[in-house]
Symmetry: C2
Subunit: 304 residues, 2 copies
Amino acid sequence: MVALHHRDGHHGWDRRLPPVTEIVSGDEVELVLADCFDGQLEPDARPEDVADLDLDRANPLTGPIRIAGAQPGDVVAIEVLEVAPAAFGWTALIPGFGLLADDFPAPHVVASRIGAETTAFGAVAHLPTRPFLGTVGLAPGEDGPLSVIPPRRVGGNLDSREVRPGATLLLPVEAEGGLLSVGDAHATQGDGEVCGTAVETAATAHLRIHVWHDLHLDAPEIDLPATSGRPRGPRHLTTGVGPDLYEGARAATRAMIDHLMARHGLAPEDAYALCSVAAHLRILEVVDAPNWVVGLDLDTSVLV
Amino acid sequence: MVALHHRDGHHGWDRRLPPVTEIVSGDEVELVLADCFDGQLEPDARPEDVADLDLDRANPLTGPIRIAGAQPGDVVAIEVLEVAPAAFGWTALIPGFGLLADDFPAPHVVASRIGAETTAFGAVAHLPTRPFLGTVGLAPGEDGPLSVIPPRRVGGNLDSREVRPGATLLLPVEAEGGLLSVGDAHATQGDGEVCGTAVETAATAHLRIHVWHDLHLDAPEIDLPATSGRPRGPRHLTTGVGPDLYEGARAATRAMIDHLMARHGLAPEDAYALCSVAAHLRILEVVDAPNWVVGLDLDTSVLV
């Protein structure tokens, strides 16, 4: 198995960056990930430390990983086998960033202690620990350097809490070899990530990578496994990535209709009606300007 | 207990409509509700029947119910005790209506057989039966007649699937006496109601109504009870109602911060950060033009 450290990494996206390794479809990788602040915050961090953050070091990524045979128009499927967070995490209000940036001009930080089951969010809350990867992306098809903050149709900083162990993230390829990079682990997060940060933490991630030549996507999609609870699944999520939530909802719905037609043989009218009665529109992130992520989430076990 | 039939009802909102009954805070009501098509579709409905629908008869409401002592600035709390749907329901693609109206110009209909546990959605899917009330509203403060289609800050056609048995819907009062009307039951629906209709059905609803003089809200909120599953709750939902999803997300987040400060004593910065790590932005409906409903959903059992 290929093991990579964030020393083997980069800031921002650029398809011209030399790959740090090359794998073939079916390979597994183990990645050591820095947190989104690149280690600049300590467990006793104070608001002044947030004000002093060097944001040019935000979201350091481990990679790029070249995947042999991945061509523009293919899909890279990233199966998340494990995300093991560190013992500490931070949630920061960063001036100028977040859904209510105008209401909260001052820096603030809440440090969390991350346990296997529960994360102590300051002295405020006890949250179920539910780790996932905030940034999993392929290199965009245009030359960089491009900002790491907005997610794109090739993924990236999706900040979508379903990119978690058990999930398979499907990303359309734009650059020769895909050029996968990963970072920005979160110990937990709500849909929307409204203040702009989750419980940000360093982590180790274990992934299995496949190339699919027979599927073509306009945006990221996520397959989620069956569970014992509700929704019992398996589930399929489509997404719309862009600067307008309404258009994102439309794109995600169109993608789900396409999925239901291609994979389950539904007529388009029935697929659209089924989305209305059984699928759920979620605002997965609304802070990574200028692109938000809307998801449409369907438990496909309802299908006859 | 007051019992009302949809014969005692109206189309559209108007605070000048005479109340069909008057209750006091703490009273229970039992309401017989027509479906949103006012009984125009039969179990064997065909697309032509959808094309022939008289849409002036859409969303007939049972009411208005005057609530003694409810004054502008108060809150009416509607506790949903039971929603018993009929045996049949319909999901229609209505030309010109829905998130993808331009992609689907032709009428279409899927008839469902509604069972206690499962709803057979045509021959397409078996859905968990999860009945709720699509329209629960107070009279707007301006003179009508006003369209029943868009929800407003006083509620109305919220089409939000959490207005279900066990929930308490909180609505700000604009008109003297509140003037509550109810209709548009759904056997089940996804967040968004993307095609514009749910599994639309007639129903009987059993509600308990209170007036709260000591709470002031800008928009509807929903309290949900604890359950044995995840999220375990109790949960609180705030909403943003309006024509822009981004502004709706901001309004819902501000309302949750206010709730966490007022009810749980959190500092505003901690409340905002908690929303980011634990609360979920949901698009509850995106079809009742011109107003969409964004919800922010927090399991308050996480609070220390």
